[in-house]
């Protein structure tokens, strides 16, 4: 505590609200502790849980706004950002890791998104989770997630970021497996943690390499020393960035480590909205942006980042075409959109990447919460009539626009936003990415391939999102006559946050309205200090003149075409409810089964490893070779001594102690002389 106060009073350090930034972490931490205690002692005190659980996140949002205003009013002088030091964490020789927060333009953007969208999702959860017996436990986990997410974005060094990085993974694990009595849920949580750990292995190695080459792990010093001590384009910096990117691939669900995210939909829907759409999964994009100086020195690694991003965007979008679970469609959509963000940062268009991260947080949170509202209504209906149907299967929905008009209207807005229809938010951010990729393609034609992949993805995105909308809200209702009576809108505490997210999804594009449309490029100017060095090394080329309009026109054409076809093809023929549906065939089946990637991983990696461990290492080496052969050689010895032991083992404690004391005395005897 004294070090906290010292940090707050440090005359040379940051001033005003910035030095109190740790409160944004402390409030949710207190919420976690209170709700955790309530979960163990008073799980029925739901009012207290609601007030504490949402109150602390709102408080953190207030802190975030204050920090933002302060930073806007008086940005840090010189080059370095504000660093608020809390305590010495790992001192070891020259390695001296401080537990410190870095407040700069980038981390403040993330701070606002996490606490802002986080607050709305906490509010929504009050309604969505209210009947759940684990209500208090849910909010304690959700608060803990906010704590770790803020440590992740505020961390001033890789190790501190890593605390948040693994911490959000833990919360993700706990929340995916929230209803742990179902084995599939517990499995999904474990899978998420393990796949993420594969990525974390890369982050650790990157840290080791950076430490021994730069003698620093904090971002400020890394940015200072990397250009001086590392050779741009060299193998070393390429390896470092690729190891970092491995972590991002795990956390942000990119090829080949994306497999955990669709399964993560086993968690409650607000969790999917908060963790698996708006915030945690974007941490990989954030990390690349945070270490942009390193990536700008590694063109090969950057191209790989962009390529993986483009490939993932396209690949996940094709799977999204053929899913029937409403949340799974959104999960693959998230993977695909994250691919766009990596395409952006890999191209060096960091602002575009962060821009899309922000708009995606708005419209994808809206889509998930809207889906949650639908599932809530479906679940309620099935529960009322005692039917055992899948409340998430879109084949069981249809025509819900009549029962859920607000949800329909808001999800329609979000669908248009993600599809990239102007002037909604997704249009601007996606266009900025595609423009930057096209611009790079003018000097490096290879990038045009990525641009085409991005365009195709845009088409597929519009298609599967329209399909989702059509299956859920349009056409005839397939819920069942009795159930239909019970489908109705959720309470205001759930629709209220949806409404706010709807406003953000519409207007979010004005964060960074491009100049040629008369905008001020606010986000670009705001983020400029953090990306200045990198954008000098790898300038973002945007197409000029007619090329600019071609890129724009192509994107709009893709969006509108996808929407139209998605609507027409989905509703072209009658859709049977899930239990009457024919199994898929042909390529549709391959898509429905997600290219069998899970099965392939299971057969090629998981089962061989468990088999190797059980049959070769344990039964073979340990019991067979070491114990068996080792014991065979010394079997006689063991038997002989065993006999001796059994003689000594008379069972008389007194005898043992006598033997022992006699021995001890014999040794002590000389001391008495």
């Amino acid at each position: 505590m004294s070090s906290l106060l010292a940090a707050a009073a440090d005359p040379l350090g940051p001033s005003g609200a910035v030095r109190w930034v740790w409160l944004a972490v402390a409030f949710p931490l207190a919420g976690f502790l209170v709700n955790g205690a309530l979960a163990l002692r008073r799980p029925q005190a739901k009012t207290a849980v609601s007030l504490v659980g949402t109150g602390v996140v709102l408080a953190a949002f207030v802190v975030a706004v204050a920090v933002y205003l302060q930073l806007r009013a008086s940005p840090p002088e010189g080059t370095g950002p504000f660093v608020v030091e809390l305590w010495r964490w790992i001192p070891s020789g020259p390695l001296d890791v401080r537990f410190a927060f870095q407040v700069d333009q980038l981390s403040v953007v993330m701070l606002l998104i996490v606490t802002g969208v986080g607050s709305l999702i906490h509010l929504f959860s009050v309604g969505y989770m209210h009947a759940d017996p684990g209500y208090a436990r849910f909010f304690s986990y959700l608060n803990l997630f906010i704590v770790f997410m803020l440590v992740l974005v505020l961390g001033s060094s890789l190790p501190v970021t890593f605390v948040g990085w693994e911490g959000v993974g833990l919360c993700s694990y706990l929340l995916i497996g929230f209803w742990f009595s179902e084995e599939t849920n517990a499995n999904a949580g474990k899978k998420a943690f393990l796949v993420n750990r594969i990525g974390d292995f890369g982050v650790l190695l990157a840290m080791f390499m950076l430490w021994w080459s730069l003698r620093a792990l904090d971002y400020v010093t890394i940015a200072e020393r990397a250009p001086v001590r590392l050779i741009a384009g060299g193998g070393f910096v390429t390896a470092v960035t690729l190891f970092l990117f491995l972590g991002c691939v795990g956390k942000s669900a990119q090829i080949p480590l994306y497999v955990w995210l669709p399964d993560a939909m086993a968690g409650p829907t607000p969790v999917s909205a908060l963790i698996h759409a708006a915030t945690m999964v974007t941490a990989g994009v954030y990390l690349v942006a945070r270490t942009n100086i390193l990536f700008s020195m590694a063109p090969v690694a950057s191209a790989i980042v962009a390529g993986i991003g483009a490939l993932t965007a396209l690949f996940a979008a094709t799977i999204g075409l053929r899913q029937y679970d409403i949340k799974r469609v959104l999960a693959y959509s998230t993977i695909s959109q994250l691919g766009y963000m990596f395409l952006a940062v890999g191209t060096g268009a960091y602002v575009a990447g962060i821009f899309h991260l922000a708009t995606h947080a708005f419209f994808k949170a809206l889509l998930f919460l809207g889906a949650g509202s639908v599932i809530h209504a479906m679940h309620h209906a099935y529960h009322s009539t005692g039917a055992h149907e899948d409340a998430q299967d879109m084949r069981n929905m249809g025509g819900l626009r009549r029962q859920l008009p607000w949800t329909f209207a808001l999800m329609a807005i979000a669908t248009l936003a993600i599809a990239g229809v102007p002037p909604l938010s997704g249009f601007f951010s996606k266009d900025e990415i595609l423009a930057a990729v096209f611009g790079r393609g003018q000097s490096q034609p290879f990038w045009l391939v990525f641009w085409v992949m991005g365009l195709l993805t845009a088409f597929l995105t519009a298609f599967y999102m329209m399909r989702l909308l059509a299956l859920t809200f349009l056409g005839d209702n397939r819920t069942g006559a009795r159930e239909r009576e019970h489908v109705h809108e959720a309470p205001w505490i759930m629709t209220g946050p949806l409404l706010l997210l709807g406003v953000l999804s519409v207007a979010g594009g004005f964060l960074n309205l491009p100049a040629f449309l008369g905008g001020r490029e606010g986000l670009a100017h705001w983020l400029e200090p953090g990306f200045a060095v990198a954008s000098r090394t790898v300038p973002v080329a945007t197409p000029e003149g007619s090329a600019e309009w071609i890129v724009l026109g192509a994107a709009i054409a893709m969006a509108l075409g996808g929407l139209y076809l998605g609507w027409r093809l989905t509703l072209a023929k009658p859709i049977p409810p899930a239990r009457e549906a024919q199994p898929e065939s042909g390529f549709a089946r391959v898509l429905f089964r997600k290219y069998y990637v899970d099965e392939i991983y299971q057969a090629l990696l998981v089962r061989p490893l468990v088999g190797l461990s059980r049959w070769v290492l344990w039964k073979g080496v340990d019991q067979g070779l070491i114990d068996g052969a080792g014991a065979n050689g010394s079997a006689a010895l063991v038997r002989g001594l065993g006999w001796l032991g059994s003689k000594l083992q008379s069972g008389q404690l007194g005898a043992y102690l006598v033997i022992f004391l006699v021995g001890a005395l014999l040794l002590l005897f000389p001391l008495t002389r």
Binding site: A39, L40, W87, R88, W89, I90, P91, S92, G93, L95, P159, V163, E166, G167, L170, G177, F180, S181, A186, N187, K190, F193, L194, R197, I198, F201, L204, L205, F208, W211, W212, S213, R229, L230, I231, G234, G235, F236, L609, V610, L612, S613, R614, L617, W618, V621, D622, I626, D627, L637, V638, L641, G642, G645, S646, L653, Y656, L657, F660, L667
Partner: protein, 518 residues
Amino acid sequence: MAQLLSGLGYRQWILHALLLVPLLGVVPILLGRPAAAKRTALVVSLVEFVLSLGLWWALDTSPGTLQLNFSVPWIPAWGISYAVGIDAISMTMVLLTTLLMPLCVLGSWSYIKTRERGYYALLLTLLTGILGVFVATDLFLFYVFWEVMLIPMYFIIGIWGGRNRLYAAIKFFLFTLAGSLLMLLAIIVFAWKVYGATGTLSFAYAHLLEHREAAGSLAPWLFAAFGLAFAIKVPVFPLHTWLPDAHVEAPTAGSVLLASVLLKLGTYGFIRFAVPFFPGVALAPPVSALVVALAVIGIVYGALVAMVQPDIKKLVAYSSVSHLGFVMLGIWAATTQSLQGALMVMIGHGFSTGALFFLVGMLYERRHTREIAAFGGIAKVVPVFSLIFTVVALSSIGLPGLNGFIGEFLVLLGSFRVHPWATGIATTGVIFAAAYLLWALQRIIFNRLDKPENESLGDLNRRELLVMLPLLAGIVWLGLYPAPVLRRIEPAAVVYVRTVRGDYDAMRLSALAPERRR
């Protein structure tokens, strides 16, 4: 605090008191009623803990060398002394031991129902033996304590152990004895060689260290003998097979002490004796490559074999093989960070694995089985147990913010410069550790509560909470604010690196920059 302690003359008597108090405590236990034994043992071990706490303030850790040295001839004719001393490395181990001992007594409270007097008497004797090993600065005295500690443990496993206790006890005894007899031989030969070179027959640690060159051509053999004794204790792959048997059969407190403290005697032996005495052998490329390879194999192999164990206790036992591999890697990389990391793993493993064994014991007391398959979904009926189990498992996995991370991170970071490839493979240990523990966690506390026997499990009682809370506090404290510990052990780590590595300064300065070489 330091003034208060010096007013009491604390620095003069503390080491002797620590060795004597447990032995004195044996007397009332043996003379008293059987039912009173555990209370007496608790009081004695608490007194011991409180006494030892003063070391935290009284010890000047800044020089990094042995402090509070005291020596009096014991068998003058053979140059054997009763000599003790302590530095920050042994201090952390002493404090870990004295903290765990009252918890072990509490943890045995309802577990041990037969021959209580003998059990608690042996437990206290074991305490003296362990502390003796950590503070002895005469090699012969060290050997005596090494054996003193072996015998009570043998009986604890052999008498109060599980079904297969005799087999496990003898296996434990034989493995350890085989190593330690060789070590005794090596100690005598080494002292004899130094006697030949200096004309002074002495088993004093400082004396032998100063004249370590006298070992001459025998150095490889001497190192091998020391190394084998310690490697069995650690245990280094493939000498580890006594460990799962001993752990599974030992009563809870026995398992806790085995894992948390006794294994560390092996790594402590390497740090204090084997490597500093014979650095030319230990760090020579072929030997170093062999040890590092075995350490890395231990990390990965231990984790993979742990993953497929049907018995929780065996799972935890194999996880120790994996964790101790990190310690070996850190010792052999011999950088400040890697050695501080190794020490942090030794401390952290003491907390988290000790806690795991306590928790497994608590499950065993309720269900009389350790089969993972016998549980499932118990988070619903025992939420406090499940919460604590989860936190402890996460610390063992190395989640940053809890204690396990600090040690592993420092070991791997520190070793990367010296053994990049081995460290790279060792780092995969973080993946496998998550695999075996999360899988076990899922099968025990998550999934469906489908066994009727588990529906009436009782949650932790006050005594059990009292056992777990200090460990939990340590787990969080060492994860969030390890600086006080790291600052204390840093000088000793630097001394170790200087002692074993001539090119210390070169190591400090040369940065990893492969491009430069082109």
